[in-house]
Amino acid sequence: MAKSKANSKAGRTTNERTVQPDDPALAVTVAGLHLRNPTMLASGILGISQDIFARLYRAGAGAIVSKSISIEPIEGYRNPTIVSLGSNSYLNAVGLANPGAEAFSKEIAPSRGIPIIVSLVGSSDKEFPPMVQKFDALGNVIGYEVNLSCPHVAKMGMEVGDDPEMVSRIVKAIKAGTRKPVIIKVGIGAADVVKIAKVAKESGADAITAINTIRAMTINIETGMPVLSNRIGGLSGAAIKPAAVRCVYEISKAGIPVIGCGGITTWEDAVEFILAGASAVQIGSAIGNRWIDVFAEIGAGIKKYLERKGMKNVMEISGLAHKY
């Protein structure tokens, strides 16, 4: 539920904490990136405005992943594009609406010391290098995430990510154009997620983000009509958490660095993903319910857990569940 009462001052809301001093217990390294804490913003949530990125960073996010950016702007589907299903779960078919690489590179060009990972989406390996070229020199950009798993747009996302051949070509094409880390975002599609993760890694990817939303739909029973204008969309939030934990566990067991994503709402969820093998976590849907304080709340919860377990740093618990 919206905490609208607390939101009064421009620039920050009264219930938002400003950044705590960086805590060494929470610092992580993933894909060669040193992050002050493992809580990243997931792609597509509050992902198009540098001013908002700055606010999320102040609120405690360890890094920001942008909305998936395509070579040309995309208007996306007609509304309804986002449906709340209750129980911290959502269905969306935004249709990869984004301002396009040119406008977005201008958006994030002013260097403000915000660690931004640019999420890229495209329908073939040819589309990625020109985008990387626009972003690679920008001071804020610390790496790339490649969306090979959006489940509701034709010829993009999952339709590309299900094809191991194309995945390999895309990873190689991007790696050839940058020295910054390249993270491949996978999801549950027709192909085996672990197999795609392995192909990506062997082609040069530095890490995997798992998972994207899962293809799903909802029908309003009074009208008998699908609610999303696109009818089919992607399921996110609490409903997909166990499926996401499974993917993180299996990919990590294959020896591939993973960033966990899918239904993380509380610090307990974040710890569960890290125990499954994640080096960092991404938070998306939970912002809808918990608002942007969620980053600081999860960070503080992880910190207490580590103290209770006698651990000095969060990386020590990564993959602990593999033993059993």
Binding site: A2, K67, S84, L85, V94, P99, T223, M225, S285
Partner: protein
């Protein structure tokens, strides 16, 4: 309805009644307890099944309607695809609503206030007027329209403000009804440092509330600033989720759906995009 209902889930409502305000503006009345309790300035996300979903301010139902417990209303101007679908609905048709969302116009210690509205921006001001009336706040409202046949809510405003001292001023751009000019011209006459219309009894206000086209609100803000008057303005931005996760409604570092929609003069003064640009559906900045 259960007490802890999730406001973010779509509630199906049935249209009870439709009021024709002008040839292009209609009011749709329906029953929904949460909407009927919306605070002045709050909005709903309105689902037109297999059509669109649009943000719409919550309107007050006519108090003379019998059986209007739990009633709320929407007032729609027929514009493009989505609003035309809504405009063409009939009594008995089904809509979905979620919300109400957003913050509210605050009355605080204000005793004499000015409301400036243009077009469907008048909708949230009507809900505010009802509250000003019950708090007995001295109220002047300026209703701006292009021409006589597009004027609406004049009678409604007088009715909503019936128990308090009030004045309803109508302006038309072509002078076919009321004062000639823009709503902001009438405002300038009222507040312009008291220079003109010094005799008018409502020449001084504690606060100006505004909603309407952004360039009108910018003018209201500028006029109020030159007269050192506080302002509360309800901003409009393109909305998809209404709950602060998609970013489509952002202005600066504010999410209008969740942090707004209502901002005061201090907040507006920090918004470089206010009155200058908005983001289109793809997220690109476009000048007004």
């Amino acid at each position: 309805m259960p007490i802890n209902i999730d406001i973010n889930r779509i509630r199906v409502v049935i249209i009870d009644k439709i009021v024709h305000e002008t040839p292009t503006v209609k009011t749709i009345v329906f029953k929904d307890r949460l909407s009927s309790e919306a605070k002045p300035g709050q909005f709903l996300m309105v689902w037109i099944p297999r059509g669109e979903e649009l943000p719409m301010s919550v309107m007050v139902p006519d108090r003379k309607d019998k059986n209007n417990k739990d009633s709320a209303a929407l007032t729609i101007r027929k514009h493009g695809y989505g609003s035309t679908l809504l405009f063409d609905k009939r009594p008995g048709d089904i809509l979905g609503v979620r919300g109400p969302y957003g913050n509210e116009f605050k009355i605080g210690q204000n005793k004499k206030v000015l409301l400036v509205g243009g077009g469907t921006g008048l909708v949230p001001l009507m809900r505010l007027a009802r509250k000003l009336n019950s708090n007995k706040i001295d109220t002047t409202i300026i209703i701006g329209a292009r021409t006589k046949e597009e004027v609406f809510f004049e009678r409604m405003a007088n009715d909503l403000l019936r128990d308090t001292r009030h004045q309803v001023i109508v302006t038309t751009e072509d002078g076919s009804y009321g004062e000639k000019g823009y709503a902001t011209d009438a405002m300038a006459r009222l507040v312009d440092g008291g220079k003109q219309e010094r005799s008018r009894k409502n020449a001084k206000f504690d606060c100006v509330y505004t909603c309407g086209p952004e360039l009108m609100m910018k003018k209201v803000y500028d006029l109020a600033a030159s007269a050192s008057l506080p302002v509360q303005a309800s901003l409009e931005r393109y909305m998809k989720c209404g709950i602060g996760i998609c970013s489509s409604c952002c202005i600066g570092d504010q999410l209008v759906c969740r942090d707004g929609t209502i901002y005061n003069e201090r907040q507006l003064s920090t918004m470089a995009e206010f009155g200058r640009m908005y983001r289109d559906k793809s997220g690109r900045r476009v000048p007004y």
